[in-house]
Symmetry: C2
Subunit: 239 residues, 2 copies
């Protein structure tokens, strides 16, 4: 045995309006540290692993406790363990990640919830973070942008059905640039990767937009024989 | 802080002759446990993380100490941490993996080396292992067979240049079935993924086989901004 602290941290991506432009951009929730080390700096949500919990369960519990965000499941991203990453005792962090849809972002109103010290940030524009979390966020963004299929990203961020306009916003957020709507429509329709559901957005418009869906599954990582990681636990109920 | 033991384990793949057929097959080194828990069962090489070492350095050190195998570098595979995976105190294991070429497999002759309790096994035919190492080996084999390019596997197992026959043996070992040599040659030449070096195998034959190489790099996983994991340390020198 050894005296190493084992922690979990979580990188959660959602599409949220950019505070300046209003366009949907990849955003992550961060938690401001209220004690040392790194008091006052922002950090990824997380905490210590409870010896009785699986790693994914600890990640989900600490995520819900600190931010109120509840993804349908978490996937393991990478384990960060360089000796100098936390002052004092050695701490190793198993990092989980997930994509969430707007309805999975709860508004916490219970008195224990510290709304002052939780905030969504544009993922490409976070302040200098505590520990090695700058490196963790950069790695998660790189993995998302280079190793995950757009179809999985769109399903994770949008849900099972979506309009072409919503799908274009996902591509724009991942690419971090605007796309021409007409060109985008032609390319997506030619690619054959999406299927019209035959339904349209419900609402009062004369011709509401069509709804589409993907055929594929939505995991960030195919873990094969390991199966899916644990769903985020139901403790710490959203209000 | 919490009382969780942090360990590393390593899955090393090499091509070795099958003990029955003599054909090269994917093989892994295992270490027989000489104490509880699981005394007498075989397990992946590994050990406790030293608080002063990086995770990859601990994995490399324990690998060299127990088996004498020294890959040029190790890559992180996955962190296994289910609460019941080890009896007694909770233990979480960060698992590393690598491919090695024959010359990276040292023969240990120092008195401290326990050759009796180290052995190479056919990766598809290991005995029931200690801890959750059955699951770890199954996951590593699945990842290698479904998520890694053949070019990276071949470079890891063969080195930078190789004959067509050696390349076919790699494909046969990964697929776990024999391939027709003439068909294989046609397919590989048509794919354009390998390049003739202009050299031939050195030796006394009238027309020794041509040597080929790949253009791509040989990582099992592209870790982007994280870069390569640490090379295996030089302590525990091979004799």
């Amino acid at each position: 045995m050894n005296t190493i602290g084992l922690a979990v941290s979580t990188v959660i991506f959602a599409l949220r309006p950019h505070p300046a432009t209003g366009r949907p951009v990849l955003s992550i929730p961060l938690v401001r540290r209220t004690r040392d080390p790194f008091e006052g700096l922002w950090a990824l949500p997380g905490g210590w692993v409870d010896p009785a919990e699986s790693l994914a369960t600890s990640a989900g519990r600490t995520l819900v406790e600190t931010t109120g965000v509840r993804p349908s499941y978490l996937e393991q991203l990478y384990t960060f363990g360089e000796p100098g990453r936390s002052p004092g005792d050695r701490v190793v962090s198993v990092v989980y990640w997930a994509l969430v849809r707007p309805e999975q972002i709860g508004e916490r109103t219970d008195p224990a919830f510290d709304a002052e010290n939780v905030r969504w940030f544009v993922a490409d524009d976070v302040p200098h973070l505590a520990f090695d979390h700058d490196e963790v966020v950069a790695y998660a963004l790189w993995r998302l942008r280079t190793k995950v299929e757009y179809s999985a990203i769109a399903q994770g961020l949008l849900g099972s059905t979506f309009t072409l306009s919503e799908l274009r916003q996902v591509h724009e957020a991942v690419l971090d640039r605007e796309l021409d709507p007409a060109n985008f429509r032609r390319q997506v329709e030619a690619s054959g990767t999406i299927v019209a559901t035959g339904e349209r957005v419900k609402g009062g418009r004369h011709r509401p937009p069509r709804l589409y869906r993907f055929d594929t599954s939505a995991s960030l990582v195919d873990n094969g024989p390991l199966g899916d990681d644990a769903p985020v636990p139901l403790s710490g109920e959203l209000l």
